[in-house]
Symmetry: C2
Subunit: 325 residues, 2 copies
Amino acid sequence: MYRILDILKEEKGYLSGEAIGKRLEISRAAVWKGIQRLRKEGYEIEAVTNKGYRLTAYDTMYNQRELETGLRTQKMGRPLYFYPETDTTNHRIRELALEGAPEGTLAVAEKQTAGRGRLGRHWEAPAGTGIWMSLLLRPNIVPAEASVLTLLAGIALTEAVQDVTGLSPAIKWPNDILLNGKKLAGILTEMDCEMSQVHFIVSGMGINVNTAEFPEELRDIATSLYLESGRTFSRRQLLQRVLECFEGLYHEFLQAGSFSPFLERYRAKCLNLGKEVRVIGRETFLATALDITPSGELVVKRQDTGKEEIIFSGEVSIRGEEQRI
Amino acid sequence: MYRILDILKEEKGYLSGEAIGKRLEISRAAVWKGIQRLRKEGYEIEAVTNKGYRLTAYDTMYNQRELETGLRTQKMGRPLYFYPETDTTNHRIRELALEGAPEGTLAVAEKQTAGRGRLGRHWEAPAGTGIWMSLLLRPNIVPAEASVLTLLAGIALTEAVQDVTGLSPAIKWPNDILLNGKKLAGILTEMDCEMSQVHFIVSGMGINVNTAEFPEELRDIATSLYLESGRTFSRRQLLQRVLECFEGLYHEFLQAGSFSPFLERYRAKCLNLGKEVRVIGRETFLATALDITPSGELVVKRQDTGKEEIIFSGEVSIRGEEQRI
């Protein structure tokens, strides 16, 4: 039946069942059966008497086959598991990792029923509107280096969004992607390790793509590519671009053995620098964010003592938003 | 049947089936059935005509009930799961943790079929001779603090061994316990976390207690309490003492929020300090181990550059043993 799909993809207009049957050397009844099965997989295929079949809304198709088609990566997204609905894609990847899945394995969900942000916070992840995915990584690094992967994923997300949409999101250290001051995407990096060796890392990413409306309580703090631009975008194209961008950055990181080559790019996108931040950890204090270190930590100057401190991945909020984001 | 066991435990000599039956108000046949069931659980009960029953080799009993009996802890070892044979107790605890098991949950195996040391190395763990166990911890700490738990477990192991046997093992930073220069016990700390929060930690410990003989290739580098002292020891008693010692240290660590209170004790037991070590990581170099930092890292002075460096939980071997241990 995918041969029928390929023919419909090539053809912009309508194609009769007879014409399709001839090309594939099958009966019109067989064509009709194939069309029915494609519709069951979610492809919207219009049928008009005396004209024939036409693939509509193809750009919005989002399933395993379509996500694999045209993906230009060596490793990332191979293999790819697609879940119409699951609790969280991070869970799926952890299970797959424990079963021995290779680096690059990707879980994509149409809908997440228990989507989470950092520190177990709820993340709204309804069907059809966003990209919810998790990537399995098996880098030969020590646990202390792992937080850099959150920053690399941040760069990949912002660059992919820019490539596909022309919009320019910014990064709120360490793991939020903002557009016009509202949250567009988030990253949740989880790790399984012993003290001197990482077993595996799960890089979870969520992007609000075509969301037209958020629940009341999120309206002021969350946004989507659609809400900021008035246009809808192909989730398939964006997902593939994120994987391609990330693959390049990840390879470069492993080669370099450090985050240094990415510092300039990250600084340029990081909107905390120079701003007042509230550091929430064992202690809570106000500070000015000064810089990012070569290992990806945040350098701040405390307002109370005037001293510089290095913040690991604690809790940092830009003042005024700390209750919500 | 455990009421029969309790009576046999109290009595040093022999007790007739009739006497036991009278005390419990059950028939002699019921006593006999209970004895059979206890034997099936591994209790060695001698039966002598005209004398009665006697519990023998009670000190070597090692099962869930006996390990729980007399355990003086609040949390550690509660609940306790006993496995006659399993791949590794760390695996069991990870599974239990993902199902929501509480802090303090303990897995004990009579035999591990896939025992591992750090970095996936094989650890010989046959039945009947040692303690192979893993403890579930859920501390509210950031991942960078987790390696301290390896050091705390090291202190607990050495202190428990000293309390129970009078022998004084030493610690080879970060995770080996040595007696007379040979490996007596090891610690494997594993962690599941996101970048700013630990989900859970598995503290795996292995102790060679009554091992009479090691395979050829381990003979020069491994030892047991029995081999060093000529005496056998109760694994039950030692296991319980380790849990008690660890519980105290862990509580103190969480209260203090740092490893500082333990530094002196650790330094006193750490045999690397002042010695030449080979640091094996991205780079391999010779150095002199100078000190332990308040966060549990090793301070060394490189022989090539003369500079001081801080070693996280990389690979550190005492020179001459680096191929084996």
